[in-house]
Every structure is written in structure tokens, then in C-alpha cells.
């Protein structure tokens, strides 16, 4: 795996990371309210470190999703009592997530078909 990383085989390209940020954030928030640091941790954990997001990159994307009405934000308290900004999916965000899911599964299934892998059921 370390060798693969060095050769750039497994780590997603910058363009792919940028394109997948929106559906990943929406999908994480569809499971419940969360905040920046926890979202990044979850992405790292679920991708096994293959999706290497720079921490600072997440927030402009979250703010853009908030501005576009796809997520809603509120200020709450962290476990240490400090101010923390929590995000959750809006109903508009839920619809956007369904569209994203269809599109990404279409791409996935086309490639799966070409590579002879079992396709995923589309929603």
C-alpha cells in the first residue's frame, strides 16, 4: 500500500477529490448532524486514507453548500464547552444527494461493466 501511494496508483487525483467532495459531505450529513473535524475524520476512516482531504479545503465547500441551501448550520457547544458549528442536511440537500447518487452510480456501473465487476443497484 505504501508503495502504491508513492507511485500515485491508489490516492485519488486532485480533480477526483474535488468532484467527490459534495456527494461525500452530503452523504455523511444524511446520517445525522456533524461538524467539520468529525466529517474529515469520517472521510479518512471510510476511505482507508485513500481520500486525502486537506483539512482547510472542507470548510469553503461546507460554506458553499450552506449558501446554496443544501445544508443548514447552527452554532452549538463542543464537549469542552467551546463554540462549535454543526451542519445538517436540508430537504433540498436530500434531493441533491439523490441526484448525485444516481450520477455517481451510473459512472460506477459503466466502469464496472467494462471491467467485468458486479454492478451496484441504482436507486
Amino acid at each position: 500500500m505504501a508503495l502504491q501511494r508513492m507511485q500515485g496508483f491508489a490516492v485519488a487525483s486532485k480533480e477526483l477529490v474535488a468532484a467527490s467532495t459534495k456527494p461525500i459531505i452530503l452523504a455523511i450529513l444524511s446520517r445525522g448532524e456533524s461538524y467539520g473535524y468529525a466529517i474529515i475524520q469520517e472521510v479518512r476512516q471510510r476511505s482507508g486514507g485513500e481520500l486525502d482531504w486537506t483539512d482547510g479545503m472542507l470548510y469553503p465547500v461546507l460554506h458553499r453548500l450552506e449558501r446554496d441551501g443544501l445544508v443548514k448550520a447552527r452554532w452549538g457547544k463542543s464537549e469542552t464547552g467551546r463554540k462549535r458549528k454543526y451542519y445538517r442536511l436540508s430537504s433540498q440537500g436530500g434531493r441533491a444527494l439523490r441526484v448525485e447518487k444516481t450520477q455517481w452510480l451510473n459512472v460506477h456501473n459503466t466502469l464496472a461493466d467494462l471491467w467485468g465487476i458486479k454492478p451496484c443497484p441504482t436507486p
Binding site: 486532485k14 474535488a18 467532495t21 461538524y35 467539520g36 473535524y37 486537506t54 483539512d55 482547510g56 479545503m57 470548510y59 469553503p60 465547500v61 460554506h63 458553499r64 449558501r67 463542543s78 469542552t80 464547552g81 467551546r82 463554540k83 462549535r84 458549528k85
Partner: protein, 249 residues
């Protein structure tokens, strides 16, 4: 910040470091107070998550801030999102600058009004308008260039001093910059008027004074609008150029 793992002395140092980090981020002008607060929460979470007995609290904070990304890059990433908010904030400081120097103008020149000659004949002389406008613009540009040189110098000075906050660091703050952009042209008009008031004695006729007075009124209304607009158009053109050259996400 409650952090039972570190002794108080270290926590104080870490708080100072976080304060500095916030200051540097704020000085970039791209992030709102809320965005900085959110990033600080992230930094603290990352910092508390680094569990290592070999590292001091400061070292852990350095690692956490490195993971978050360096301050310039963070500010750069926030720029496209906060564009509208950024301009709203700039506009607020610019209006404050305008009002401030306008008030100064009133305080300085209200007593001088008594010097005006009653019953002068007013007519428009474009040549005089241009000469006053160019004088004011010249003074403004000289001040703007001075500021453009002074700000990076002050920034490097406030960094060199390390832990102690330099009084010069105020010049690197966005509110100072945008107040100054608007305030400076007014100051230029003010300086010009001072010269004008001193040279009042050289007017030989009421007509000549009238010509000068109208030109002064026109330029003093125009310059404070035209000069900052000029600076902002150039600045946003430069910003767009730098954004398109490193466009990502």
C-alpha cells in the same frame, strides 16, 4: 481551554500561539470572524487528538496547524466562498473611512469658512478642476504607495518580534487598510485645501477666487469617490488574475 493533560504554563503558551494564529488568519482579510472561529475549533480538536507523550503541547499544536494547512493557503481557499461577505465588510470599513475624514474636514475647515469672500462670481474653469484633481490624486497615490511599502514592512516587523504583539501590526489589519483606502483621498483633498487656504492672499479678484472655489468643491466631491474606486478596480483585477492562475476546487 480545559485540557487536563497539559500543565498550566504550557497551556498559556498554546493559548498565545493560537491567538497569534488567529491574528495571522484575520490579517489575510479573506475570512469572517465565524469562519476563523470554526477553524480554531478544528485546530483545537486536532491538537487534542494528537496523543503523544514525547511531544510538548506546543509541538502538538504545530503539527495540528500544519495538518490544517498554512495560513496563506487557508485564506486563499476561503476567498471564492466569502467573496460577497468580504466586499460587504470592505464596504463597511470604507464608509467608516469616508465619514471619519469627512468629519475631520468639517472640524478643520468650518472656522476657515469665515475667510471666504462674499458675493464672488462663480464660473467653471475645467483647467483649474483638472489641476486640483491631479494635485489631489498625486498626493493620494504618494500616500497609497507609502502604505503599500509600509504594510509588508510592518507585517515583517510584527513577525520578527515573535511572541510580543507589535503596535505596528494594526497596519496589517483589513479594517485599517480599507479605512485608509477611503480616508486617504479625503486627506489629499484636505491637504490641498490647507494649501489653498494658506494661499488665499494671492487671489487678486473675487472672480479668481470664485473660479478656484467651485473647482475645489467639484474635486472635493469627486476625488474621494474616484480614487478608492480606482484602487479597488485595480485590486480586484489583480485578485481575479491570481485566482485564475491557481484555480482549484
Amino acid at each position: 481551554m480545559p485540557d487536563a493533560l497539559t500543565p498550566n504554563a504550557q497551556v498559556d503558551d498554546v493559548e498565545t500561539m493560537i491567538c497569534h494564529w488567529r491574528d495571522r488568519l484575520a490579517a489575510r482579510g479573506a475570512l469572517s470572524g465565524e469562519a476563523i472561529e470554526e477553524l480554531e475549533d478544528h485546530l483545537r480538536a486536532e491538537w487534542q487528538n494528537i496523543v503523544s507523550s514525547d511531544l510538548t503541547a506546543e509541538e502538538r499544536l504545530l503539527i495540528a496547524s500544519h495538518r490544517l494547512g498554512d495560513v496563506d493557503r487557508l485564506a486563499e481557499q476561503f476567498k471564492p466562498v466569502c467573496g460577497a461577505q468580504l466586499w460587504a465588510r470592505r464596504l463597511r470599513w470604507m464608509i467608516a473611512g469616508y465619514v471619519l475624514v469627512f468629519a475631520l474636514n468639517l472640524v478643520v475647515f468650518t472656522p476657515l469658512k469665515n475667510l471666504q469672500i462674499v458675493g464672488y462670481q462663480i464660473f467653471l474653469d475645467l483647467g483649474t478642476v483638472w489641476s486640483i484633481a491631479l494635485t489631489c490624486l498625486g498626493v493620494f497615490l504618494a500616500m497609497a504607495i507609502g502604505l503599500a511599502v509600509a504594510i509588508p514592512w510592518c507585517a515583517s516587523r510584527s513577525q520578527r518580534r515573535g511572541g510580543v504583539k507589535s503596535p505596528w501590526s494594526v497596519m496589517t489589519r483589513p479594517w485599517f487598510l480599507y479605512t485608509a483606502i477611503v480616508g486617504m483621498p479625503w486627506l489629499a483633498v484636505l491637504i490641498h485645501r490647507l494649501g489653498f487656504s494658506i494661499s488665499l492672499s494671492r487671489f487678486t479678484s473675487a472672480a479668481e477666487f470664485g473660479r478656484f472655489a467651485l473647482a475645489d468643491q467639484i474635486t472635493s466631491l469627486m476625488i474621494p469617490f474616484a480614487a478608492p474606486l480606482m484602487v479597488l478596480i485595480v485590486a480586484s483585477a489583480l485578485q481575479k488574475k491570481s485566482q485564475s492562475s491557481n484555480a482549484e476546487m
